[in-house]
Symmetry: C2
Subunit: 274 residues, 2 copies
């Protein structure tokens, strides 16, 4: 999906919601555990119930790899089930030397047909570039993440530039790719810094995880993070997909997704994007 | 495998060679392409031919993921085929927020039974710690990698400590884990800095990729990087597994592996480790 199509989906659905299908086999309702592929069946029902408000779905590969070959198969089937008008993200946080990153690109963009993959920046330019060779495919580079450990290295200040590591990552990466192939991961728990972070990359989309279970504030993120094309995909995983542990899990997920969509519609209206 | 067993294997085989099974389906000899699982068959023959001199095998997950579910199955089968007396490394460069890293740990240490996994440090402590909860399992943290992009961020100097990012990573991580669960990736192309890097982590093992195709110097690495327990696993991938493109590929791999082992035996002798 290209940038223009993504923006058009945001306007159509009046939403910049990304739903994280972080489906843990141990957390899905009991009545689903009898079918052949419980993880896929859970995802299928969540997708059916939420696709009218979800602009994107993000699949964190860890949850699938934890189930071995079978999990990898659930991942593939889920991806294929997601409607064409939704942006799909492999939250894989990959990154390796050039010739190896090229193989990860093959895995996620050819073997599977994700629109985007999250990439860890530690290994630098040649670890990122192979993903950019695929037309209309996206790299979503980790910038400032939502977890407690984000302070360990991402905040180190450079003696030479006075910039912090995450700022260096954002500025340097914009020399590698244009905003039609490059997004950044900015944790919702960094909401207070969102205005500053937006200045570092005025045109790029941000994938913002950490709303919901991790406590990030959707209003602050939206007020301070939006650009003239919206420029945000705000992700919620656990707060949506585990909104109920019962048979009504898909309905409960829809309710929570719709609640977030209404807040997002307000912000889009305020910024005159609708 | 615990630290003592690893050291004892090094002394027994007079080698600190790690062989990277970076098996690209497009590069394996034609006569193998007719079997059910050519990648596994290739690996099986390489393992049979080299296990007398290989202390460790490293499987880079990218090469397997590029073949989809089938690739994941080749990975699993290869791991199971590797003899118990060899140390096994999932070169996966994973790392995510705490609860998600826990699932990667489940994937590589429970679903599969690797001894170690490579981890990217960008997300900090909570992305690393879940892997350490598994007894006798290892985290091999990226410190200073072998690729050109390693200079992009790893060399940034902190205003506060005067230390470079890779140095910060090495010092901080030693507060999270002891040398019986923590190794560092130090690229062989960083050979000139090896003496300094060894001072940063006197007791930890280093996994050193980049000898062979990437041009790192085994002699300099060995002279400057060894500690009193050897402390090195030097990896070669392409130069061994693709030593010949013909039917004699396994024999050619063995020759190249034995050539490296002889150099290693010399260094171990010089340092009075044998």
């Amino acid at each position: 999906m290209n940038r223009q199509e993504l923006i058009s989906q945001i306007k159509k659905k009046k939403s910049y919601l990304c739903i994280g299908l972080d489906t843990d086999i141990e957390k899905i309702p009991d009545h689903l555990k009898l079918v052949t592929d419980p993880v896929f069946e859970f995802n299928r029902q969540i997708i059916d119930a939420t696709q009218h408000v979800a602009v994107a779905y993000k699949l964190n590969t860890a949850f699938y790899e934890a189930n071995g070959t079978r999990g990898w198969e659930s991942l593939r089937k889920t991806l294929e089930y997601i409607p064409q008008n939704c942006f799909t993200i492999a939250d894989a946080k990959r990154g390796d030397i050039g010739n190896t990153s090229a193989l990860y690109a093959r895995a996620f963009f050819e073997q599977m047909d994700f629109d985007a993959i999250t990439v860890a920046p530690y290994m630098g330019e040649d670890s990122v570039k192979p993903f950019l060779l695929f037309k209309n495919k996206w790299v979503i580079l980790l910038a400032h993440t939502s977890n407690p450990g984000s302070a360990d290295f991402q905040l180190i200040e450079s003696k030479v530039t006075d910039r912090r590591l995450y700022e260096e990552v954002m500025l340097k990466a914009q020399g590698w790719a244009a905003p039609d192939q490059l997004m950044f991961v900015v944790g919702a728990t960094q909401a207070e810094k969102m205005k500053h972070i937006r200045e570092l990359a005025p045109d790029c989309f941000f994938l913002v995880p950490g709303v919901g279970a991790q406590g990030g504030d959707l209003d602050i993120i939206s007020s301070n993070g939006m650009n003239r094309d919206c420029g945000l995909l705000v992700n919620s995983s656990r707060a949506i997909i585990y909104a109920s542990a019962g048979k009504d899990f898909a309905k409960a997920a829809a309710n929570e997704a719709e609640r977030l969509q209404r807040i997002m519609e307000n912000h889009l209206t305020t910024k005159e994007l609708l």
